[in-house]
Symmetry: C2
Subunit: 367 residues, 2 copies
């Protein structure tokens, strides 16, 4: 295994001091920022996440802020999801597409008010696309990256931990809604959301200076809850069917190929830049789509590139994420499979670095 070479270009976060003190062992880079990947071990982190509560430095979910009279119009230009019914205080998962309908990002849009939005982005410089569109269409809107760094609190004891720091009212925040809470005199948006299926919150920490004070307050409050530093867990997120932009899909893919058709209202999303390109696929459906796949046998090696999926000697798809699941005793995997082979129960073969393995297309993720 190779080491990561640190430099200013791989941006630190307001919580990096805490992450290092907690003994981070591995990093990835996400939006040109450090994202921890492992503390004790991926499997030990997984077990702990499912049992207790973890604090995740997900500052790399940078925000693109839209402010001004044209903010809502611009937001709708970016996505085929119809945003007309969205209220301030809501979070929407929004596929972002270019003029060809290709996915540029799969962020969560946070509506702060009619004329102020945050887009909490996956791994691509979406800021540049949004700024280019705003400039080219001469929209009356300011677009920038504010000093906001999300901190996720995930795991079955997340409610208990946050209630100790922010009060019991935090328990009332509903899924994909947010409310404002005070910390050291600052108002912070806290949403019930996060990149795991274990429940929890994301705190939009506005102002780097309160990063470590908040980090420390959470650890001080949660000692008996076994709170630990954690991070998005490869095994748990595959079990839960949480897609990863750049891994499971790229700008080659439409939202429909990614199984995100339910987040598209292509007919009514008037103004969306990719609308025309998506109308046909929205009506007729895609020819390939993301599927949960179970790979036979014992643990496969780490998947650092697409593995071909074949059937009858022909390439009919690829695996893009996989991990051995201790809870489900199989290699839980995410792949893109052609229409001819995507029915649940279909037997396929996967070209792993260790050789061919049998595999089965499943009807649902491991949830």
């Amino acid at each position: 295994m190779a080491q990561i070479s640190l430099s200013r270009r791989l941006r630190r976060t307001p919580f990096s001091d805490g992450v290092e003190a907690a003994g981070v062992k591995g990093y990835t880079v996400y939006n040109r920022m450090l994202l921890p990947t492992v503390f004790e071990s991926v499997e030990a982190d997984y077990r702990h996440l499912k049992s207790h509560v973890q604090v995740w430095d997900v500052s790399c979910e940078r925000q693109v802020e839209l402010r001004g009279p044209d903010a809502a119009r611009l937001m709708q230009m970016l996505t085929p999801r119809d945003l007309r019914g969205m209220l301030p205080g809501q979070c929407f998962y929004v596929p972002i597409v270019d003029e060809t309908g290709g996915m540029l990002n799969d962020p969560v849009a946070v509506k702060l008010s009619e004329d102020r939005w945050w887009i909490s982005i996956a791994d691509s410089d979406l800021l540049l696309w949004v700024k280019g569109i705003a400039n080219g269409y001469r929209l009356d809107v300011l677009v920038d990256e504010p000093d906001v760094s999300p901190l996720a609190i995930q795991g079955p004891k997340a409610d208990d931990l946050l209630a100790r720091v922010f009060g019991d009212r935090v328990r009332d925040v509903r899924f994909f809604k947010f409310d404002k809470f005070e910390f050291e005199g600052r108002e912070l948006a806290i949403a019930r959301s996060g990149y795991s299926k274990q429940g929890g919150f994301e705190i939009y920490v506005e102002g780097s200076d309160i990063g470590m004070p908040l980090w420390n307050a959470l650890f001080a409050a949660g000692e008996d809850l076994h709170v630990r530093a954690g991070c998005p867990n490869l095994i748990e997120r595959i079990e839960g069917g949480l897609l990863s932009y750049g891994n499971d899909m790229t700008d080659d893919n439409t939202p429909h190929e990614c199984g995100l058709g339910k987040f598209c209202n292509t007919h009514t999303a008037i103004g969306c830049i990719g609308r025309d390109a998506l109308l046909r696929v929205a009506k007729e459906g895609p020819v390939q789509q993301i599927r949960p796949i179970s790979i036979d046998g014992d643990a496969v090696p780490p998947c650092d590139r697409p593995w071909s999926v074949v059937a009858g000697g022909k390439r009919i798809g690829q695996i893009t994420s996989t991990a051995w699941s201790p809870d489900f005793n199989t290699n839980v995997s995410i792949g893109m499979v052609k229409l001819s082979h995507w029915e649940p129960g279909t037997r396929i073969e996967v070209e792993t670095p260790d050789g061919m393995r049998g595999a089965t297309v499943r009807d649902k993720f491991w949830i």
Copy 2:
């Protein structure tokens, strides 16, 4: 030191198999792609680079291709450098700025023909900005990322090595010009350029399938030249004053702050999106600027975040890149310093993780 966690999202390159076989020890991530940072050691790699010849996988210099009737117009919209005199076969270093004059990237533009350009980018998804602008202004141009991966041949024996593989004509390629050469029936653009001051070339490898065949041909031809796998070297690039986007400057900085005013023709670059914003700074000059700085004493620790530069108890700048130079026996550094303290010879202080160090602003880099 933490390890890097590999996944498809951190893209491999056509040369990754060769890089691994050569024993890469460290990586960074650049344009969401793997970029090697060290093979033997940063200091041993440095010594070898200055003595022999190295093959560098710089695939992460992704290309943004502009094709079509509006390609030249779009290219000029992106940069304050006047491109009217640029001929096919030339490479221009071009600051790319947004509407505020902030640097979005500092790539090399490659003019293939009047209606076809490559932009060989530094670390930001410039593709998204260019696509957004092309879309918003409804330009008649195709913008995408082609299957082109630069391979750099750097070091004093670079001419000898390339002549063995491509013929003696390659010796005639002049600095920042390119010509076409054949390899296995494919025409490849080869430019005299690269991210070192030791001389050499960049081969624009078009078609991933010929990546490893070319890699292997270079190593087979250069055994007696002591050819080795290498990578941009931290020490050598600081000595040579080669800036790193994301390290030494960000979108907060104008080209003039980066000392790139000589690449700006702000008055005549009609159509450049950032022109209006830059007119004043072009005339009056910036209030802070990048400077070579020598930090006193023995080797400082690695610089993974900006270090404050102070004088008279006030913050007057920051160090963003530094390394111990065996050849110059000092900590060669790049920093941004305020006008009041940027004169050569000015004594300043640097807040390193090991404590305050004296330092001197220099008149030029170590070349």
